[in-house]
């Protein structure tokens, strides 16, 4: 473990999780290389959010382990884990009465003692994060008055203020217009270049293919495929997992895979009940 990138490589190892009697995550193995952007893909209900919650320690796996380098995340103390792993959520909830700078400062929670106030370093990190994400002009605004896109950006800033080594994001491009989507993903790329390991649950396959170094496809709680976007996102896999017909093109400008959907597949071999395909058949 001399290479710092190895030290920040995320490994999920036979992770299993049931809620009630329902198996949500079924023996998931996946890897995101250190300092790269991983995209977690899959239809609704595939278990993407749950897997992120398990890695972040918000919920506890019944079996298996998530490791960052050689550190078992579940074995760490909560505060120590929160200094390594940050989670930016999909849910855009109100935080009544908090201003943007205060919301971002919440990211310093794992570094603060019970009684001591934020120290100079905490203030510096908050200031720098506001600066990096272009939020300085909003610092004194009430969070509740922000637009959906601005809130997403503040949520991301809060996670970055945790100074994590692993950044987990649950649909960070939800509710964003195209410009804000590309800006967010560009930011994730640059964070990864600076050494952060990123794993983001995404819905848009072309966006994932355009920005991620590594994709993990989840279906019904299992890893269906993982690897480089070009190798994983094939028409056959998309038909099987999402139940839609698609052609995978090469993006004329970037050379990245570009997914063009045509129609709902006649017959989806995975979870036909969820995709309306069976209704047509």
């Amino acid at each position: 473990m001399t290479d710092p990138a190895d030290h920040r490589e995320l490994h999920a190892d036979r992770v299993r999780f049931t809620r009630g009697r329902r198996l949500i995550i079924d023996d998931v193995d996946c890897t995101v290389p250190g300092g790269s952007v991983g995209a977690l893909l899959g239809p609704n209900g595939a278990g993407k959010s749950t897997l992120l919650h398990l890695i972040a320690g918000v919920e506890h796996a019944d079996a298996g382990a998530a490791r960052l380098g050689d550190r078992d995340l579940a074995a760490l103390r909560r505060r120590d884990r929160a200094r390594l792993v940050a989670l930016a959520e999909q849910e855009v909830q109100d935080a009544p009465g908090l201003r943007v700078a205060e919301v971002v400062a919440l990211g310093r929670t794992p570094y603060l003692g019970a009684f001591a106030g934020p120290d100079d370093r905490d203030r510096l990190v908050v200031r720098r994060t506001l600066d990096d994400l272009g939020l300085v002009g909003l610092a004194d605004r009430d969070y509740a008055t922000l637009s959906g896109g601005e809130r997403q950006r503040v949520n991301l800033a809060r996670a970055i203020a945790q100074e994590p080594e692993l950044l987990l994001l649950d649909e960070p491009t939800n509710h964003l217009d195209v410009h804000a989507q590309l800006t967010t993903l560009g930011l994730l790329r640059s964070l990864a270049r600076d050494g952060l390991t990123v794993l983001a649950a995404l819905h848009d396959l072309s966006l994932a293919a355009g920005y991620a170094d590594h994709v993990v496809v989840l279906a019904e709680g299992r890893v269906r495929a993982a690897g480089a976007p070009g190798a994983v996102l094939t028409p056959a896999l998309i038909r099987e997992v999402w139940g839609v017909e698609a052609t995978v093109l090469e993006h004329p400008a970037t050379g990245r895979p570009l997914i063009a959907y045509s129609e709902v597949a006649e017959r989806a071999s995975v979870a036909p009940d969820r995709h309306g395909a069976s209704a047509r058949a």
Partner: protein, 397 residues
């Protein structure tokens, strides 16, 4: 570098106004975070220092106001006492000065009014604190020990042990009642809520303010009726007055034991609650976010809600179920200093103390020589505040 930031506070203060506001989520972000963006002086640090100073100023102002309120409130009423008389009596009893008042007037100050005013201060502080903590933990702006039924549960516990004649365990029995009521309300409001460490984000969200308040209403109704039944069934004297005092809350007849119970609860339970500000802040975005910030969600919630039940129990044991203090004061304080709990909790406690000192002074003097249960006055003020909050938070329904 951060020191510089504070040194240049005056300079940095201008920045929020002069910086161009960003219009929407689509506004341009710097594509690449880079150290070169970081300026030596900054707004965040200066702004925080500024809000820290503002909080300190408010705390000092409210502290002075509370001390003055206590002294002045003791002088109000028949006997024509002056603040100087009150000081002289207090100093004499603390063994610092010579007694100057006649034994009768000294008795009015030291045996009658001072314990009552101090109990009012402790109860007001504790109720406001409980309200602020519960509002954070349930993410419900309408949460309050009275509205969620804790106070009426505590009344049942208190009345039962009084009837059974085991007064020593009075605060504990009230705590038991408050805890039962709290569990009943939360169970009624959202099945599965708060279950399991970490909890499920979705289930935390299912506990809507409306459901919670309705559940509290149901629980309050039942426990209020039980309190009335127990008193009615057992009382030998004026049972109606006694029922009113428990249901509406009253500080009549409080003595130094009441001060010890309410004040002791504030020290033993209230101070740890105030010290949990950081944890409460982390709940701002719900359970999942709190867990991701390193908070032990299940344990924290159980401990903190248990603490509010314990504190409510001790307070209700001396005062009955005084309503709306826990609702009004935290919202008023939020309006002044924002929602960060490091400022909100201590200032709410101070404001609650001042509020109840004056509400109780009104209750014992407005219709002199008759005395109102103080809960009538707090409800007269609290009801409209509740209505305003409800209208302002229409989307929360």
């Amino acid at each position: 570098m951060p020191r510089t930031a504070e040194g240049r506070a005056a300079d940095a203060l201008r920045v929020p106004e002069t910086a161009p506001p960003t219009e929407s989520g689509s506004a341009a972000w710097p594509a690449r975070p880079s150290a070169s963006f970081h300026r030596p002086g900054g707004e965040g640090g200066a702004r925080r220092t500024r809000t820290g100073l503002r909080t300190g100023a408010w705390a000092a102002a409210l502290g002075v106001l509370l001390a003055a309120s206590v002294v002045v409130a003791v002088t109000i009423g028949p006997a024509g006492l002056s603040p100087a008389d009150v000081w002289a009596s207090v100093l004499a009893h603390l063994g610092i000065g010579e007694p100057t008042l006649s034994p009768l007037r000294d008795g009015i100050v030291w045996q009658l009014r001072m314990p009552r005013v101090l109990t009012a201060a402790a109860v007001g502080a504790g109720l406001a604190l409980c309200g602020a903590v519960m509002q954070a933990l349930t993410r419900n702006p309408l949460a309050d020990p009275y509205l969620l039924g804790l106070s009426s549960g505590a009344s049942v516990g208190a009345v039962l042990v009084i009837v059974l004649g085991i007064g020593l365990v009075l605060p504990l029995a009230a705590f038991g009642g408050a805890l039962v009521a709290l569990v009943a309300t939360l169970a009624l409001a959202g099945a599965g809520w708060g279950a399991g460490a970490g909890g499920r984000a979705g289930s935390g969200g299912s506990l809507t303010p409306t459901r919670t308040v309705l559940a509290g209403l149901a629980v309050s109704a039942v426990f209020g009726a039980v309190t009335s039944l127990v008193i009615f069934w057992s009382a030998t004297g004026d049972s109606y007055r006694e029922i009113l005092n428990w249901l509406l809350g009253s500080l009549a007849g409080t003595d130094w034991t009441s001060v010890a119970i309410a004040g002791g609860a504030m020290l033993l339970v209230g101070l740890p609650l105030i010290a949990s500000a950081r944890t409460l802040d982390a709940f701002a975005f719900g359970d999942t976010a709190a867990a991701a910030l390193g908070v032990h969600v299940g344990r924290s919630r159980a401990l903190l809600l248990g603490g509010t039940a314990l504190l409510t129990g001790a307070l209700v044991a001396v005062s009955g179920a005084i309503g709306f203090v826990g609702l009004i004061l935290p919202h008023a304080v939020r309006f002044l200093v924002g929602s960060r709990h490091r400022a909100l909790l201590p200032l709410s406690a101070l404001a609650g103390a001042i509020f109840l000192v004056w509400a109780d002074t009104g209750a014992r003097t407005l219709f002199d020589p008759r005395e109102l249960p103080v809960g009538i006055l707090t409800a007269l003020i609290g009801g409209p505040v509740f209505a305003v909050l409800m209208l302002r938070n229409r989307r929360l329904a």
